[in-house]
Subunit: 157 residues, 2 copies
């Protein structure tokens, strides 16, 4: 039920990667693809909505690449998921109130909206900087230099 697709999962990892390299100028898609183990052609599609959403900037040509347009602490996970997976809602009608005139009569509607608010609460209160901080902390606990662990941000076993 209600699984996140690879868009959301990979995309979050891509942004975490960009957050970890914040301030280093344009990052090559090729490098992100290698570190996050995402195929380059697929990554190009993943990054598109993030660029369209004004979250990421891209530069073509030599010395090009992509970088965050906003500071990591200004990027909330709710925006990220919104861009990558669309509206955060367990059912259509919750996100699209006016299109469903029956909502006021529908009991389950109220519950699904509560679920939506619960999800949104978590994602809204988490920023990309939070993820970056947690990642660095985990690396420190491992007593390993950061650059040796940069590939270890996967969610797939």
């Amino acid at each position: 039920m209600m699984k996140l697709s690879t868009k959301g999962r990979y995309g979050t990892r891509v942004l975490l990667d960009l957050g970890l390299h914040w301030g280093e100028g344009p990052i090559l898609l090729k490098d992100i693809a290698r570190r996050q183990e995402i195929s380059l052609p697929y990554l190009e599609h993943l990054i598109a909505p993030l660029i369209a959403g004004g979250m990421v900037k891209s530069i073509r040509g030599p010395r090009g690449g992509v970088s965050l347009l906003k500071r990591p602490e200004e990027i909330r996970l709710s925006e990220v998921i919104q861009l990558l997976e669309g509206p955060i809602a367990p059912v259509e009608c919750v996100h699209n109130p006016e299109a469903y005139p029956r909502s006021p009569l529908c009991v389950t509607h109220d519950i699904w909206d509560e679920v939506r608010r619960a999800i949104d609460g978590v994602l809204e209160s988490t920023t990309l900087q939070d993820l970056v901080d947690r990642q660095k902390q985990k690396w420190n606990l491992e007593h390993l230099p950061r650059h040796e662990k940069q590939g270890a941000t996967w969610e797939d076993a």
Copy 2:
């Protein structure tokens, strides 16, 4: 993102229907199908996991039908969704901890688990009886006799 499928949505309506007819003996699938506007063949598939999960009892033959095995106040929405849609988790690894040895190193894992707990919190604290009560209250506000409105529990416009 993370939409509920018709299994979860229709199935919840089916249980709400059974909750509203609690104590009336076996309810015909045919009647549920008509009231909830679900095709009978599809309904038979929807009800299967609920029977397998011990939530609903079925009786075949004349004067048969289905009915709740537990009282509506003992049926939590979390169980319902669990039976109909599988584990409540935005990513596999959250539900399947031991199969994903990388979890402790993975930052996003923590976030997805927070999301899972948020969802579960809502569904765990809502029982079928809550839905029944809300439905009756909505009907009362409409000042209409109950039996005229029994079809109006849809979530689809």
